[in-house]
């Protein structure tokens, strides 16, 4: 039973989840998790911004571009996750995969 899941997840499923400083030029599909750094530039449906690690003192500021629907909670300072891949040093997000994270689904307070 467990074997089936293992095989399935190893072949078909699974996207690694990384912090901006852990990306290190990897170009495969990953989910990046980080904090949005101001300023956020908008042009039509495309937004451009940089993200940094949520924790730790890494100085990496990864440039990101994303086209598609943006969640209501999105703004500078929020923690987000975004699926996509690195192209020419810029992380290009896949449409519809931008998710804002809050500390708990049910509480709106205490943003760190």
């Amino acid at each position: 039973m467990l074997g089936v899941f293992l095989v399935y997840t190893s072949i078909a499923g699974g996207t690694p989840q990384l912090a901006p400083s852990e990306l290190n030029g990897r170009t495969g599909q990953v989910t990046i998790v980080g904090k949005v750094v101001a300023p956020v530039q908008r042009s039509g449906r495309t937004i451009r911004f940089r993200i940094k690690d949520v924790e730790g003192g890494s100085s990496v500021r990864l440039p990101v571009t994303y086209t598609g629907s943006v969640p209501d909670m999105f703004r500078a300072g929020r923690d987000i996750s975004l699926k996509g891949r690195l192209r020419n040093g810029t992380f290009v997000g896949a449409s519809g995969t931008l998710v804002t994270k809050c500390p708990s689904k049910y509480s709106s307070k205490k943003e760190t």
Partner: protein
């Protein structure tokens, strides 16, 4: 006032500790008076939890921002209904609600079982007490809802997406379900600890399991509807860990509800049933843990959360202690009979159980996968909807088919000829439906087509069961056909209530398949006056409207909807900007077609200052059957739950002797 709340919780903890110690001592020494005193402590713990809950409720309603919890989850502008729902809007209040329901259910179960099965209570009471100790301890020492502060001028407000009527009912329903699963667990463990090998615990807890399962099922559907109308991304279920948290115990409990019938009728599957009841309870705890600990966002936030490690420790303790108990009582759990044939009703139930548990484990694996991979490789890997949807089809479609086979197939051993005779009619209906659907163009999705064919098969077999039973009753002399039907259902409430629930699952399947396998999506950038076509609808964007609501500034895009050149209405998707919380939320607009159950779903994805609208539209056929299924589900569950004097007499005869022996 906060002092009163804190004191009530401390007394509650004390009573629960007493129930454990005195109850265990009484069970060991067979001291009836001490046992009764432990039972009374459980009942009294409900009174203290009620006092603590009332204190919090009053503080919420009076905007007593001196309480940290009240200030963090409400504001002066928040309407009264949502102020009350803030009770379960945060971690501390949710735990208090758990405790309130837990003590309430425990008290009711103890009082009821005192009359019907007093001997079963000996070890059940200390086990119930143990669970109460955990939650009372969490509220007293780890996560108190009564922490105080210097009162700020206004509170932080409630998360806008929680400001919805559904949030008044959905979380309490889920908690009623989660907590309700404690009762069958405690009685099963109590029976094992007392070395009882009979089925009395199943009989005593059948309605509790059914009730918890009904709440859990209906609560999830409410949550799905909330996600659909309020969160506004156009779906109702996203395999989010928080959603999975409620689905897993429901699946385990569904398996349990089916397999206990085999134990009652044939004395089989005893170990399996005990494991399922342990699993359901552990998954209910795990579900609370998942939604409350923050482990989902990261393994790191888990260690920072105050309650996470405690919960994990408690789940570990529950699993360890109950598995150890099962192992020490293995000889008691030996089956009286064996499976005679792989083609029989028992076997169908067994396959149904394996599929349900397999699906439950699939979800558990998916939820745990990021945590496991992070622990092993330092890099979490997540699995998304494709993983879950694959297994939903792989396990869900055979389950659907079994739902049509199970009720018709013979017990013990079914002959091939018998099978042919019984299934000729449902199978032909299914085949005809399949052909008709292909002609209508449903072949665009093969899983959808297979699913619908199975749905027709199940519905036909349910109708056949009702028709056969009613005809038999009518032949026995019922005056009218409706009278025959009523007496048929009335005399076999469990069975026919179960069939009604099956019918609701078919409706659910039809709705889910229609809205996921046959939906249409379109996105377009619109200037005022522009038009857009989607799935037979023509949309025309008229312009923006802005108005001031009670607690939010409301921006709406006015969109005219027409079909076949005829105007059929106006939809207003938009955004709300909440004053107190400083947050924006998406407000989707939905037009439901009453005739064919189809929805047109509009989302104002982005509204630019110059009036440009990025509009997303979805057409979801048959989606409304999902919500109708909820009411059919409730009706079926109510039929199965309804008190049945005849059943009580039969059980009293069967277990009266065992009860007398145990008391002697």
């Amino acid at each position: 006032m906060p002092e009163l709340g804190r004191a009530a919780l401390i007394v509650c903890l004390g009573l629960a500790v007493y129930a454990v110690v005195a109850g265990a001592a009484a069970a060991l020494r067979r001291n009836r008076r001490l046992a009764e005193s432990a039972e009374n402590a459980v009942v009294a713990s409900f009174a203290t939890a009620l006092v603590a809950s009332l204190v919090l409720l009053v503080a919420l309603v009076q905007n007593d921002f001196g309480l940290v919890y009240v200030a963090d989850h409400t504001s002066r502008e928040l309407p009264l209904g949502y102020t009350i729902s803030a009770f379960w809007g945060g971690q501390e209040g949710s735990l208090l609600l758990w405790l309130l329901i837990l003590t309430g259910f425990s008290a009711a179960a103890v009082l009821l079982a005192r009359r019907s099965a007093p001997s079963l209570l000996a070890w059940t009471v200390p086990i119930l007490g143990g669970v109460i100790v955990f939650f009372a301890f969490m509220l007293v020492a780890v996560s108190s809802p009564f922490a105080t502060q210097a009162a700020p001028a206004d509170g932080a407000g409630l998360n806008p997406s929680l400001q919805n009527p559904y949030m008044l009912a959905h979380p309490p329903m889920l908690y009623l379900g989660f907590v309700g699963l404690t009762i069958p667990f405690a009685f099963a463990m109590g029976a094992l600890a007392a070395r009882r090998s009979d089925e009395l615990w199943i009989v005593v807890t059948r309605r509790w399991t059914l009730l918890a399962w009904t709440f859990l099922g209906f609560g999830q559907l409410l949550g799905a509807h909330w996600a659909y109308v309020e969160v506004g991304w156009g779906g109702y279920f996203a395999w989010d860990p928080v959603e999975n948290a409620a689905l897993m115990p429901w699946l385990a409990a569904t398996a349990f509800l089916h397999s206990v019938m085999i134990q009652e009728k044939r004395g089989m599957l005893k170990i399996w049933n005990v494991l399922l009841v342990i699993g359901s309870f552990a998954l209910a705890l795990f579900g609370t843990f998942l939604t409350r600990s923050g482990i989902i966002s990261s393994i790191h936030s888990f260690t920072e959360s105050s309650i996470g490690p405690w919960f994990l420790g408690f789940i570990g303790l529950v699993l360890f202690a109950s598995i150890a108990l099962v192992l020490s009582r293995l000889p008691l759990l030996r089956s009286k009979t064996r499976l005679e044939s792989p083609v029989s009703r028992e076997a169908t139930f067994l396959y149904n159980n394996l599929l349900l548990v397999a699906f439950c484990l699939t979800i558990l694996w998916g939820v745990l996968y990021p945590i496991l991979t992070e622990a092993l490789h330092g890099e979490p890997v997540t699995v998304g909807p494709p993983y879950y949807n694959f297994f939903l089809k792989a396990f869900g479609l055979p389950l659907l088919l079994l739902m049509g086979i199970g009720p018709l197939i013979a017990w013990r051993r079914a002959s091939l000829r018998g099978l042919g005779r019984i299934f000729a009619w449902p199978a032909s209906v299914a085949l005809a439906t399949g052909v008709l659907l292909v002609l209508l163009g449903a072949g665009s999705s093969i899983p959808g087509l297979v699913g619908y064919t199975f749905c027709a098969f199940v519905l036909a077999s349910i109708v056949l069961e009702f028709a056969r039973g009613t005809r038999a009753r009518h032949a026995l002399g019922s005056s009218s056909w409706t009278g025959a039907l009523a007496s048929l259902v009335g005399r076999n409430r469990r069975r026919y209530g179960g069939y009604v629930v099956h019918a609701s699952i078919v409706l659910l399947a039809i709705g889910v398949i229609g809205s996921s396998a046959y939906d249409t999506v379109a996105e377009q950038r619109l200037r005022p006056g522009d038009t857009m076509a989607i799935g037979g609808y023509d949309l025309r964007y008229r312009g923006l409207e802005e108005r001031r609501g009670a607690n939010a500034q409301e921006l709406r895009a006015v969109v005219d909807v027409s079909r076949d050149g005829e105007r059929i209405g106006t939809l207003e998707p938009g955004k709300n900007r909440y004053f107190a919380e400083q947050q924006v939320s998406n407000e989707a607009a939905i037009r439901s077609d009453r005739l064919n159950g189809e929805d047109l779903f509009l989302i104002a994805d982005q509204i630019d200052a110059d009036g440009t609208l990025f509009l997303k539209g979805l057409v979801k056929p048959l989606v409304n059957l999902i919500w109708i299924a909820g009411f059919v589900f409730l009706a079926g569950a109510a039929i199965a739950l309804w008190p049945d004097a005849r059943e009580q007499r039969r059980l009293a005869l069967r277990y009266g002797r065992a009860e007398a022996l145990a008391r002697a």
